[in-house]
């Protein structure tokens, strides 16, 4: 592809911006990767307890949240496509839709966590402490991994909100599409992490 060959022959700021973002993203992959390794080892060690733990989770809410996050990735990708064509207002609207879907994801997550906490299933909670060790490990990993992921969603929502406002004000928008592109790259990676969390906890545990 000519544009790709051209981009690699003459690295520019736009490419440098993406390169820097990707370097950050791979550290994020390793951060969650470490937790995935912990999950897979513990699951191999406590298969029955993980199965019992997985049955406690609300599959409907997990799948619903997947649909919400996948859709938010679509609106984000469309926003980047619009900003590249110089349509800052459409990009701002699509970024706004992404933020709303991100908040929707967090709201559903909050409902889910509240149900668990209401049943005493939280780290150090009475119901959790009465469970076998393997199930305690399962819920420990569940809260750690979905919690860390939730923090990433919150960070993404905050960053994208600022970018949406900047786009509306006509700043850093169409003249520097790399800014929104990097916000989008982060958002999509958060989506990829959730793509793995769904089967790990809700479907195949």
């Amino acid at each position: 592809m000519t544009s790709t060959a051209h981009a690699s022959a003459h690295p520019s700021d736009a490419f440098g911006a993406r390169l820097g973002m990707w370097l950050f993203l791979v550290t994020e992959i390793l951060l969650f990767g470490g937790l995935f390794i912990a999950y897979s080892y513990m699951r191999a060690r406590y298969p029955h307890e993980f199965h019992a733990g997985g049955k406690e989770l609300n599959v409907f809410l997990g799948v619903l949240n997947t649909a919400v996050l996948l859709t938010s990735s679509l609106t984000m990708a469309l926003a980047v496509a619009r900003v590249r064509r110089g349509d800052g207002r459409a990009a701002a609207a699509l970024t706004g839709a992404t933020v709303l879907l991100g908040l929707c994801f967090l709201a559903i997550k909050a409902v889910e966590w509240s149900q668990k906490i209401g049943h005493g299933l939280y780290p150090g909670g009475p119901a959790l402490l009465s469970l076998p060790l393997g199930e305690r490990v399962f819920f420990g990993l569940y809260f750690t991994m979905t919690g860390l992921h939730g923090l990433h969603v919150l960070a993404g929502v905050s960053v994208l909100s600022v970018m949406g406002v900047l786009l509306l004000r006509g700043k850093s928008g169409t003249a520097r599409p790399a800014v929104l592109e990097n916000g989008g790259l982060y958002w999509h990676l958060v989506d990829v992490v959730w793509i793995y969390l769904l089967p790990l906890f809700y479907l195949a545990a």
């Binding site: 690295p11 990735s73 790399a178 089967p199 195949a204």
Partner: protein, 99 residues
């Protein structure tokens, strides 16, 4: 020429709207497949985890994150990272298997 600023030109071509919507539909469809597999039992659910899930992640990387349109450098960086993670997986299992 694209508008100037601190990050002029050098934009890679991204996917068009149609492609993005098709990828989104494929991701939703694969999620349905994953849910269907998990209803068939534990074995099928794990099979789905090991096949359908990486496929979904690849679709996001390739189209939403534009990796399909990037040069060799970014692709290599991602592959090296995933390879590193695989080595960590291997070392962990090599350790616990012989305890």
């Amino acid at each position: 020429m694209k508008p100037g600023g601190a990050f002029p030109a050098e934009e890679v071509h991204g996917p068009d709207t149609r492609t993005l919507v098709l990828v989104w539909l494929a991701l939703l469809g694969l999620t349905a497949v994953l849910v269907g597999l998990s209803a068939l039992g534990q074995r099928a659910a794990v099979l789905g985890l090991l096949t359908v899930t990486p496929l979904k992640a690849a679709l996001v990387f390739y189209f939403f994150m534009h990796l399909r349109y990037e040069g060799a450098l970014l692709k290599t960086i991602l592959l090296v990272t995933l390879g590193t993670l695989l080595i960590f997986f291997g070392l962990t299992y090599a350790d616990v298997a012989f305890r």
